[in-house]
């Protein structure tokens, strides 16, 4: 299987603080890679670097074999192949649900308004949000907003989906409606990299779990291996704390 995403010795520092240190990662097609680790371990930064929202300080990132950390590359072309969903949803508050979803297909992919609308409505119907298409984001619950945000990133048919703690800002009751979309996408064969604190969910979808600590992957392997029988004492310590917080 070809690797959709490949990171080699990536380093990222903000001032003197090294956030990613010599980090390497491969994501094969149709797999889900789950990043776990405490806040500040570098999960979000890693996703933002892949999406070129941050410039890395060393190393290389490849998307479908093409180096995207080449300074000459067209950043917008790379981002067109990537979908990103944020912890804080980041829907456009001045646009309706439908307009949020169709903006990129119309402006970036030059689809006609009708075609974009059709794609959007198909996705909205699939995820039970068709009746909300004309609402504005502030009229939706957090879970609905995040589902719309996921649909928005799917509408451009991304090669790789990046999900950054997408349930961390949600009421526990709403978490599942969002996670079930991700499970569906996993079944469709979508290639994903996701940062999460939901260990139970990680177990269900992850092909590989990576435990990040101070900017590096300390332990990686199947969910079974990393989450149930962690070898590294730091992973054990982290999972113990998660368990105490009642999140496992």
């Amino acid at each position: 299987m070809a690797n959709v995403l490949e990171l080699q010795n990536v380093r990222k520092a903000f001032g003197t603080e090294v956030v990613l240190n010599n980090l390497s990662l491969s994501v094969p097609e149709h797999t889900a890679t789950v990043l776990i680790g405490a806040s500040g371990s570098g999960k979000s930064t890693l996703l933002r670097c892949i999406n070129l929202l941050e410039t890395i300080d060393d190393g290389q990132i490849f998307l479908d074999g093409q180096e995207i950390t080449d300074p000459a590359i067209k950043v917008d072309d790379v981002r067109r192949k990537l979908g990103m969903v944020f912890q804080s949803f980041n829907l456009f508050p001045h646009k309706s649900v439908l307009e949020n979803i169709t903006l990129a297909p119309i402006k970036v992919q030059n689809k006609s308004a009708d075609e974009a609308r059709e794609i959007a409505m198909k996705l909205l119907t699939r995820f039970d949000l068709a009746d909300k298409s004309d609402e504005y984001p502030d009229r939706l619950s957090g879970g609905q907003q995040q589902r719309v945000a996921i649909i928005r990133s799917l509408a451009v048919n991304p090669r790789l989906l990046l999900l950054d703690e997408i349930t961390s800002a949600l009421d526990p009751v709403l978490v599942n409606e969002v996670l079930s979309i991700v499970r569906d996408l996993k079944q469709d064969g979508m290639t994903m990299v996701l940062a999460t604190h939901e260990m139970g969910f990680a177990t269900q979808v992850a092909d590989e779990v990576c435990f990040l600590e101070s900017g590096n992957i300390l332990e990686r392997g199947s969910a079974e291996q990393v989450l149930k029988n962690p070898a590294n004492p730091k992973t054990q310590e982290f999972l113990k704390r998660v368990h105490q917080a009642g999140r496992l």
């Binding site: 929202l53 917008d76 072309d77 981002r79 944020f86 829907l91 456009f92 903006l103 970036v108 990133s153």
Partner: protein, 288 residues
Amino acid sequence: MSERNNSAWSPSSREIERRVLRRKLSRKQGLIAAISSTLVLGTLVTILVTSPGWEVVKATFFDIEYGKEVFPTVLSGLWINLQLTFIGGIAIGIIALGLALLRTTKSPALTPFRFLATAYVDIFRGAPLILIILLVGFGVPALRLQGISSNVIVLGTVAVVLTYSAYVAEVIRSGILSIHPSQRAAARSLGLTSGQTMRFVVLPQAIRRVVPPLLNDFVSLLKDTGLVSILGVTDAVRAAQINASRTFNYTPYVVAAILFLLITIPMTRYTDRAIRHRTQAQNSEGAI
């Protein structure tokens, strides 16, 4: 939902008691407010009217007959102010938007323009408007350039537009900068270019956010158009001045002031309301 809750509900006897008491209290408060207002305002008016200089003040500033006489001239002067405000307002909006976009762009090709826009804003925001009016109104005709108008109304408008574009550009720029970076990140991650992100995501939200301060500037603009009277434009101020200096009765100034107030007070009230709405909307936005 309210239907379901309300159908079987009728207020308890305690609630009815509370309502009666609340009505009684609010009647009492209304009465106190009325008495206090009558006393204070009545005293002030009495002092004013019975003071020794009142008759002279009334004759000099509030001569109703003279006021009626000059009203049509001052009103037609005000029409000039209004025209200037609307035509100038449109030009200001366009120029200010351009300046604000140039000042916030990161495009390397536009670097010199960014620098020029910054210099422009610094100069015209920092220099007194009356100086700019004098410079443009008297200075430009002195050049005797061909093809450049020497009409004082045009030159006055140009001077006001030059200065206000700088003010308004800063307001729009502050709106652009107030949009949270996560909005930009979301747009860019969808593949929108920085230009598309500005046009479809940042600017619509920014403009909405700065409508109240822009309305404030619009009110100031209307008032400041009175300054072009120093060029000899017969606006409301100038019309009042001509009449006042002829008779040494200052009622025309009061007439002009009242006319301005009739427009500006409703506008400022509307602005205050818009600001209140904006604040409420922003507070609820925090929950998104």
